[in-house]
C-alpha cells in the first residue's frame, strides 16, 4: 500500500504501515490488514456494525480515516478472544443466543466491551442505551441484553 506512514498499536501489537488518506478505518482494517472481523454496513455512521475501540473509546470505524489512527491504540473484535478461548462477553453471546446472522455482532461486542470496562455493573437501561446505535435485524436485542448482563456478572465475580 502507498500513502501516509502510520505507527499504531493493534490488539496489543505494535504495527507500522501506510494508508491512503481517503481510506476509512474499517476498510483499512479489512483490506489493508486482512482483519475482516470488523464489518462494514451502512458506511455513514448509522448501523454500528463497524464499531471498534480507539484509545479506549468505542468509535465508528467508517467515520474515521485510517490515517487518523497514527500513534493510537486500536482494538478490534479479533483482539477479544484469548487464542481459542472466548472472552466472557463472547461466551455469553453464545450462551444467550445473542446472535443469529452475526453481521452486527462485532460492533455489538466492541460497544459492550467498552461499556463493561467503563461501567462494570451496568443496568439493563445502560446496556440498551449503549447499543442504541447498533442495529440488529435478527435477534430483537433481548438475547444481546441478556448476554451483556451475564457477562457483567462473570467479569465482576472473577478477579
Amino acid at each position: 500500500m502507498t500513502g501516509k506512514h502510520l505507527t499504531f498499536t493493534l490488539n496489543g501489537e505494535p504495527r507500522e504501515t501506510s494508508a491512503d488518506p481517503r481510506t476509512h478505518l474499517a476498510d483499512f482494517l479489512r483490506y489493508g490488514l486482512g482483519l475482516t472481523g470488523t464489518h462494514v454496513g451502512c458506511e455513514h455512521g448509522v448501523c454500528g456494525a463497524c464499531t471498534v475501540i480507539v484509545d479506549g473509546v468505542p468509535v465508528r470505524s467508517c467515520l474515521m480515516l485510517a490515517v487518523q489512527i497514527d500513534c493510537c491504540t486500536v482494538e478490534t473484535v479479533e483482539g477479544l478472544a484469548n487464542g481459542d478461548e472466548l472472552s466472557p462477553l463472547q461466551q455469553a453471546f453464545s450462551t444467550h443466543h445473542g446472535l443469529q446472522c452475526g453481521f452486527c455482532t462485532p460492533g455489538m461486542l466492541m460497544t459492550l466491551e467498552a461499556l463493561l470496562r467503563a461501567t462494570p455493573s451496568p443496568t439493563e437501561h445502560d446496556i440498551r442505551m449503549a447499543i442504541s446505535g447498533n442495529i440488529c435485524r435478527c435477534t430483537g436485542y433481548q438475547g444481546i441484553v441478556e448476554a451483556a448482563l451475564a457477562a457483567a456478572a462473570v467479569r465482576t465475580s472473577t478477579p
Binding site: V67, S132, G133
Partner: protein, 289 residues
Amino acid sequence: MKAPPFQYHRPHTREELGALLASLDNAKILAGGQSLMPMLNLRVLAPDHLIDINRVPELAGIRETVDGIEIGAMTRQADILASPIIQARLPLLARALEHVGHIQTRSRGTIGGSCCHLDPSAEQPAICAALDAEFVATGPNGRRVIPAADWFQGLLQSALEDQEFLEALRFKPWAKGHGYGFAEYARRHGDFAISGAAALLEVDGRGQITRTALLVFGVEPAPRRLYDAEAALVGQIIREIALAPIIDAARALDPMEDVHVTADYRRHLAGILIGRALREACSSLERSQ
C-alpha cells in the same frame, strides 16, 4: 461508496491551521467527522484538501472564565456530557447532548463541528441559540466574536468566512437553580430529530418569571427563538403560565417539508414540543427549590 481522493493535512497549532486555510483552495476542516465523513463516503462533498484538526490540542477543553464558560470547538460531545462543570452550570446543554447520536459518535463528534455544519435538526447549535452563546472565530484578520443571533445564516450556513475557523464557544450560565427543559421527536433514539424545543426559566422568590428563553429547532432551516412569546411570559406566575399563546407562536412559523414529514406535521410537533420543554423547565425549577 468510498470517499473521493483528497490531500490530507494535519496541523498541530492554531497558527499552522490558519496558514493552511489561507493557502489552500477548496479545503474542508475535518473535526470529529461524524457529519463530514458520511458526506465524503456518500460523495456529497469532494474537497481537494482535508485539514484534520484533531491534533490541535489548544482547540479542545472546557474552561471556567471570569464571566462564564468557554468550550473549545474541538471538545468531544462525550467529554461535555461527562463534565461536572457543564452539568452544574449549563444543564440544558448536558440534557440535550443525551439526544445527540450514540456513545460511538459522541466519542468523536465535537460541539464546534456540529455548530459549523449546522444541520437544522442538530441539538448543539440549537442550545447555543437558546443560551445566546458567542462564537469565537479566528481568521487572517485576527479573532472576532460572533453573537448567536448572527451565527445562523441559513440552511447549513454559518457566519464563518472561508479562511476562518471556529476556535471556541462562550456561554454565560443562567442563575444557579434556573429551570431548563428539552424535548425532541425522532423516529429512533439518537437519530436526527424531526423537530425539537428547549426552554429556560428564571423566577423570583414569589414564583414570577423574570427571564426566559424559548426555542424550537428542526422546524425552520435554523433554530428559532420565540422572542415575542418570551416577552409575554416574563412576569407570569410559574404555576399559572398561559401555554396556548406559546404553542400558537411555535405553530406560526414556516416549517420545512422533506421526505420524512410534511410542513403541517412539523407545525404540529413544534407546538407539542415547546409545551413539553416548558413544562419540564417548570418541574426542574420546582425540584431545585
